[in-house]
Point group: C2
Chain length 131, copies 2
DNA sequence: AACACTATGTAATAATATAACATTAAATAG
DNA sequence: CTATTTAATGTTATATTATTACATAGTGTT
């Protein structure tokens, strides 16, 4: 884990992402934190980059959106897995020990020096399955 | 598998992607097929959408790039895995039977009706590891 | 021929992300 | 404590990626 102390902008952005509690896009963040003095996209993107780096948030690549990490100050920002509902766009972070262990083992066998993976499952969440 | 016959634009775009044989971005495709009469981004994006849908190509989500499917007319466009070198950006498609079986089983156990997944490993490829 | 369906053409614009440069704050080595 | 380096900030402009909207043309039915 890296540095614990966040800068002013990093705190503002993280607070917002944690508050909304669902995948949030950079420009939506920007609009919502302008009252806190964040004026430009770059201020948001810089904070996002750093927050991803230290595992406080994750990027949902297929959606260009960001969510707070649920795995208690994520040690595992380098091993992320999500399920994404294609109907309501609900995203939840998967923390399945066996899965992450399996993928870690898989990484080690392959010819590449891996240091990270991201897995996204797509489908219908329980609610949307019923409808 | 869906319809085999590709339209004119779809052929042009697929041919190009297969020719370059590495992840290629939409606007790079556009620039390179303009001599074939493709003039606008939308023509590219529409063909890309369709080609992804029928499994002829895949999108590397973390790179906003597209590659031709290597798994013989991909039956498995719904189950994709890639390794990505963070140094040279080389991407290769992983076709590991055990891995896809494991992830398929995992999907079935979870509370969601999955119908697709995408897995991206990041690290250093063999060449770049040596350097 | 009428209908549905898929694909196309074109212009405009939206949404996502970075480059470049100047400045300030924080961390740490001498 | 102050010089130096490192991280963060502020700001403007611009690059990159992707979609909306609307008109037209081809293809395959029934």
């Amino acid at each position: 884990m890296q540095k614990e102390t966040l800068s002013k902008n990093q705190k503002i952005i993280l607070d917002y992402i944690e508050k909304v509690n669902e995948p949030t896009k950079a420009y939506s963040i920007l609009h919502n934190v302008q009252k806190k003095g964040i004026k430009a996209p770059l201020q948001v993107y810089r904070a996002l980059d750093r927050l991803v780096e230290i595992g406080k948030i994750h990027k949902i690549e297929s959606r260009n959106a960001f969510v707070a990490c649920k795995n208690s100050n994520c040690q595992i920002s380098k091993a992320t897995a999500f399920s994404i509902c294609e109907s309501c766009e609900e995203v939840s972070e998967i923390s399945d020990h066996k899965l992450s262990k399996y993928l870690k083992t898989f990484q080690e066998k392959a010819g590449m020096k891996f240091n990270k993976y991201n897995l996204e499952f797509f489908g219908l969440c329980k609610k949307c399955s019923i409808k």
